[in-house]
Amino acid sequence: MTTKAFTGSPVRKAARPLPDHKQDWAWINEHLDELRGLWVIVNHGHLVATNPNIRQLFDKLSRDAYPDAMITYVPTEEEARRVVL
């Protein structure tokens, strides 16, 4: 294993750009307090699912049902106060 190596392929234009998720983040910010401590999946500004456990969250979902969705973890207030290394 080298410590410095160009690995993989060069960058190319994607066939489909990633959605910008502004609408999803706006929804999350409106519901922040009720989402604390949860993994959250949002699709086109609508809640898809929440769960404190990320594996259980995906167990419930059809993998291909929400290709444009995003996932984030909303920290508890205590977690949010921590300074992250």
């Binding site: 410095k4 993989g8 960058v11 594996r55 969705a69 973890y73 992250v84």
Partner: protein, 144 residues
């Protein structure tokens, strides 16, 4: 004084991703075996030698986690094991394949168990500039 001029074809405002913790974060997807994750938050970290993601993403993509080359990754808080797997990463309107280290843990921010874009697999694919005061990251892809 020598002046260095660079140009960047993409800019991303990461401010909305860092409302709860300081950091430079972007959204990416990972793909392998004709399966792609939904958008994941990944921290941009030039202090990390590799791109590191939680094991749950490898399992979701149907990758045989233990089949990849094993790494022991040392951090400020200790060491952990990971296995390298080749995946396609999509960011904005770019994609590329790279070797990603999938950790033994599942992602659990804001703990150190979080998804990271590091040197091998990200910084070796883009010229990167960060304007943290404006919460902007600028990217110029390496197309060759």
């Amino acid at each position: 004084m020598t002046t260095h001029l660079f140009s960047f074809s993409a800019a991303f405002d990461y401010g909305h991703l860092t409302r709860t913790a300081r950091g430079v974060t972007v959204q990416v997807t990972l793909a392998a075996n004709a399966t792609e994750t939904i958008s994941i938050e990944a921290r941009v970290d030039s202090g990390s030698s590799f791109c590191v993601f939680g094991r749950q993403w490898a399992d979701l993509l149907g990758l045989d986690w233990e089949a990849g080359d094993r790494l022991i990754i040392s951090t400020a808080t200790g060491i952990f094991a990971a296995h390298l797997q080749e995946v396609t990463i999509r960011l904005l309107d770019y994609e590329w394949t790279g070797w990603v280290a999938f950790a033994e843990w599942d992602t659990m921010p804001p703990s150190p168990a979080r998804d990271v874009l590091g040197l091998n697999g990200f910084f070796d694919h883009f010229l990167v500039a960060i304007d943290d005061r404006e919460e902007m990251i600028y990217l110029e892809p390496r197309f060759s």
